[in-house]
Symmetry: C2
Subunit: 340 residues, 2 copies
DNA sequence: TTGTACGCGTTATCAT
DNA sequence: ATGATAACGCGTACAA
């Protein structure tokens, strides 16, 4: 049970005052070279590390940022975390993580918790960007925040993928193959991502002079279960879709069994495009075409923006970074079967 | 730019001494009921929250634990993190995470970093449990540690899955189907998990009076690339395996394409069992049999043990928790094709 | 260039 | 039961 080594111990060992030790530790230039060497030797000798608690009391940043997501098990978030971590580590920051499990109450609590724990800022994948309490707290600026895949307004920095373009491209491609009844399954009704995706679908239809059938839109869930259920219902329609766009990583593992249980084949009976890319999409039979974007890069950029914000480099204007999407064609798309 | 609310502000507002405020905040019983109420009202009124920095200086725990893994993108680790987080949150703890990317230097640095940052303990998925420096640091007890899927010795608490039994069961099943040449691909040579897996394979063979062909053992990697390469080589042998056991989540996405590119079919030409379970294994064609264990439960148990250790409830004896494994049979196993 | 002394916001000890 | 006050370890203004 050895006591903690403090500045006093080092000062005594080096035969100087604690202020000098502090100066050496913080690289203050006004220290004689021989003294600096002696102090440094004492520091190394005793293995002294400044107490972060004491430093915090003096207002020194803890170099820590928080990351709020719904569930780290979604590979999209683990990739983002990894991306954020890689740039934060470089700058000596560490990462605290917490799941909201989709609850806005929890998100509010976490925001407070992070602030209370001295986080410098938060990277935040808001669940419901229309929740006014969360909105207010983020805007209040009590803690620097960078939003992931969401957008509140001009005051809050954000980074997200270009879902509008990605979805439009996918729909355009299906239309070019001859599809006229294209279903879309995704979740997060009312958030930025969902709005952009719907818009992309509509734009592609408009451009081709085609109508969007509201019955083919299933916009209320991100889970495999939801995809399974809705796909079943879609395929059971009297006028079923000839192509399905499934947006949200977990959806694919609901889509595939639902199609199979109906004894339908991809792409002969129904074409398929999903997002994001995954091993399952790559290795399914047939491999599934995807709208791909780099989640790691998203986390990376979010951390970069937050860090710049913390350094006061981008106060005035809001920054919004768009990560590009890419349509990767595999074996899951074909012209629609001619109607009987 | 409002100043922080402190005990002094609350004390002044309630007309008491700061000591009394502290007593109320910490639930010390020796406070008159009316005073307690008045102070509490002032606390709520001003929205005072004790500064964690100041508390830390007084030796109050920060209620924070660290989690070190190689890469959070491995679903095994994101599940563990989620499991750990769920029990930590309940107890008011938060989680700091960091990737080692497989580097022992980085692991050492992270252990120091976590201690310096006042973590109460660490959940640690050591990469190379034979690294003596990491070993020494963990054993030094400078920070309470619970090991994941590893075992140093009797002094350090650990939790892991029962890989010996899982692998033995898988091998026994393949042998019972008639397989005599069973290959095994996995990584982490020399760590507990790899040893147990190899032992399981050997035990199953011994029990059946069969030899293990060392040429069928590929024990040096966990990546999809490694699996792809080694599977190619295995299938190119003059006497190739009739079944492959691939242990490590990322391996499957290397195994599958390697088998396909050789124009072989599962299970007709080669049987397949992998670990851990994944969406890909469930939805591949055919679905792949797996040795399954609950990574979420593993993280959960690790956190529980760490918490008990922090409360001093399990000092004396080392605790080792075994999570059971389960052999889930799907369509990827069949009797070997009779030799031509 | 170096040293002394104060304050950060708590908790804990000692009086009262 | 309550109040005054001393630490905790650091950074820094000010004095030397």
């Amino acid at each position: 049970m050895t006591k903690r080594v403090t500045v006093h111990d080092v000062a005594r060992a080096a035969g100087v005052a604690i202020a000098t030790v502090s100066r050496v530790a913080n690289g203050v230039p006004t220290v004689a070279e021989d003294v600096r060497a002696r102090v440094q030797a004492a520091i190394d000798e005793l293995g002294w590390k400044p107490s972060m608690a004491a430093q915090s009391m003096r207002g020194v940043s803890a170099r820590m940022v928080g990351f709020i997501f719904s569930d780290i098990r979604n590979p999209i978030y683990s990739s983002m975390v990894k991306g954020a971590e890689s740039v934060l580590t470089e700058q000596g920051y560490m990462l605290m993580v917490a799941s909201s499990d989709g609850s806005s109450e929890r998100e509010l609590a976490l925001l407070d918790l992070f602030r209370q724990r001295g986080a410098d800022g938060v990277i935040f994948a808001v669940q419901d960007e229309s929740n006014s309490k969360v909105l207010a707290k983020v805007r209040s600026g009590s803690l620097p925040v960078v939003l992931l895949e969401r957008e509140l307004d001009a005051q809050v920095n954000a980074v997200g993928a270009d879902h509008l373009r990605g979805t439009r491209q996918a729909a355009e491609y299906l239309i070019s193959l001859g599809h006229r009844r294209i279903a879309m399954i995704t979740g997060g009704r009312g958030n930025r991502v969902a709005r952009d995706r719907l818009l992309g679908l509509q734009q592609a239809h408009e451009q081709a002079g085609l109508p969007v059938d509201p019955k083919l839109l299933r916009l209320d869930g991100f889970s495999a279960d939801y995809a399974y259920r809705e796909t079943q219902m879609l395929l059971g329609l009297s006028d079923p879709p000839t192509a399905i766009i499934g947006l949200g990583t977990p959806l694919l593992s609901g889509l595939l069994p639902a199609i199979r249980i109906n004894n339908l084949r991809v792409p002969e009976d129904v074409s398929l495009i999903v997002s994001n890319d995954s091993e399952l999409a790559q290795l399914a039979t047939p491999p599934v075409s995807v709208i791909r974007y780099d989640a790691h890069a998203l986390g990376d950029e979010a951390a970069r923006i937050l860090l710049r914000q913390l350094k006061g480099e981008i106060q005035p204007e809001r920054t919004r970074i768009q990560i590009p999407t890419e349509l990767v064609l595999r074996g899951s798309c074909a012209p629609p079967r001619t109607r009987r």
